[in-house]
Symmetry: C2
Subunit: 326 residues, 2 copies
Amino acid sequence: MITCLAGGVGAARLLVGMQEAYDRDEINVIVNTGDDTEMFGLTICPDIDTIIYTLSGNSNAKTGWGLKDETWNVLERLDQLGGSTWFSLGDKDLATHLFRTELLTQGQTLSQVTQLLASRFGLKVKILPMSDDRVRTLLRVDPFEVQKQLGENFSTFLKGDYISFQEYFVRLKHSIAIKSVRFDGAQMARPAPGVLGTLKHSSTIVICPSNPIVSIGPILAISPIVDILKANRHKTVAISPIVNGTALKGPADRMMIELGHEPSVVGVARIYREYCDTLIIDNSDRRYISQVEELGIRCLATDTIMSSLDKSVELCNYLLKNAITE
Amino acid sequence: MITCLAGGVGAARLLVGMQEAYDRDEINVIVNTGDDTEMFGLTICPDIDTIIYTLSGNSNAKTGWGLKDETWNVLERLDQLGGSTWFSLGDKDLATHLFRTELLTQGQTLSQVTQLLASRFGLKVKILPMSDDRVRTLLRVDPFEVQKQLGENFSTFLKGDYISFQEYFVRLKHSIAIKSVRFDGAQMARPAPGVLGTLKHSSTIVICPSNPIVSIGPILAISPIVDILKANRHKTVAISPIVNGTALKGPADRMMIELGHEPSVVGVARIYREYCDTLIIDNSDRRYISQVEELGIRCLATDTIMSSLDKSVELCNYLLKNAITE
């Protein structure tokens, strides 16, 4: 059994290979829920959905988010009504959010709903939210920067100087600098049922190539998870989401700089050093191997750019062959 | 200025004529919100929506509810996921609920959101929810009857022996007998801003031909509204929703029988006698005129069956000519 810590798109690219490379029934994925948001009264879990959509072959390859063969009837109408449309909700995607919200309203936990949703999408891989408790990633920004971009919507937007992850990522297209990150609720959040057990009993723990700050960060903000990870450092391997100084997708590199990290595999290694025995980096970063190893992390270089399913499977095979030390 | 008390479809049929027969800017409509429901986390106001959709020319003439030119992409997908689909949500209709719920979540009142929504649909008639506070119509039923119809869904369905109006009306297709009605929250509910003022200052108050029990009943369960109505009985005229012993639409006749009322214009007159100076009945009910007048209500007979817009306008002209006594 292996367990993967995952954010959204980067993780999904790895996991879609992993379910070819490894027994699907034996893969557990612990997913970040700090990105979750409530919009229009609906509970939206972008990372969980990205992973379920991708692993079930339903993701939209063109956009990189949402479902394939999507339609936009509701959003078009909402736009006509003058409603808020910065968060693009497709019709099929909306059905996911309605399904989830209805069951949550009836008292089911996020774990239970996620399990059910994954099974309805035909997944064998087990998807676990990191917690059933509410954790929200908040980013501290310069309010004047926000005002400059959003104008009069400003007043309904800020919580102090903090904005939600979706506001930062989708509404502001991660175009402004962040000053700090807070994982609201993480201190009190309990790991979802199964999370600690699967970390303990897996032969390998994989930290997917997701944004270390806002995708893996929220998972690492939950103390009981951190304790288990530290105790199981010997079997944990991370794949660097930073290749040659840049994030393949999203603002991970810029966020790292803004928060004082080095935007390189060395910076990634520093963030993960307490949790990781091994860091897999891209061949183009070979020059950093000694610097990473000086931090006490085994460093392996291979081709980590998953431009196709085959590449992803190759990377997973490499990981499984080289990282499992038992 | 006139003020109309309204439920859903029956009221909408009258009001669509009223906005032809009377100055639109001078028509205020106080709408039942006891039918409102929360589904999938969304706040749904069936009566408000029916009236806005109908008065703006957007209602679906075939179904009698929802919007014209509707599509069903979300619901079809929700059905594939195994979600709950007994409440038929069209894509365009969903946009209304998303729009409303988002603004309510941001702290706007139901009155404010309703005003905005009505203006986005181009209405001049003013639509007022009866209250911004939560009132919910609950119907006491025989749990075994519900179980017989819904089988295993039973356990998530009942609140004691009470079911919500939408569960009764839509999910069970009003096919089971009711034992009593309760308007949860009505005792504490305050009339929405403008409601008492418009009742006081209107030259005529019209009780639309809506279900007296569950459409007008919730409005009559709010004490300050009742007090104003009683004080203005002299200018209030009702149109009977019961014609020749049956409801033209919906279960009003059966509900009246089940709750011990006579299913006739006389039964309607008894329910409204404290609030109404005049009851307009259909020509086919002329035989009841003396019985109604014995209750101290002026009784006028005309053609009340609104099979077309022209018929509706005619009825409104008749009402305005005969009912305004000033």
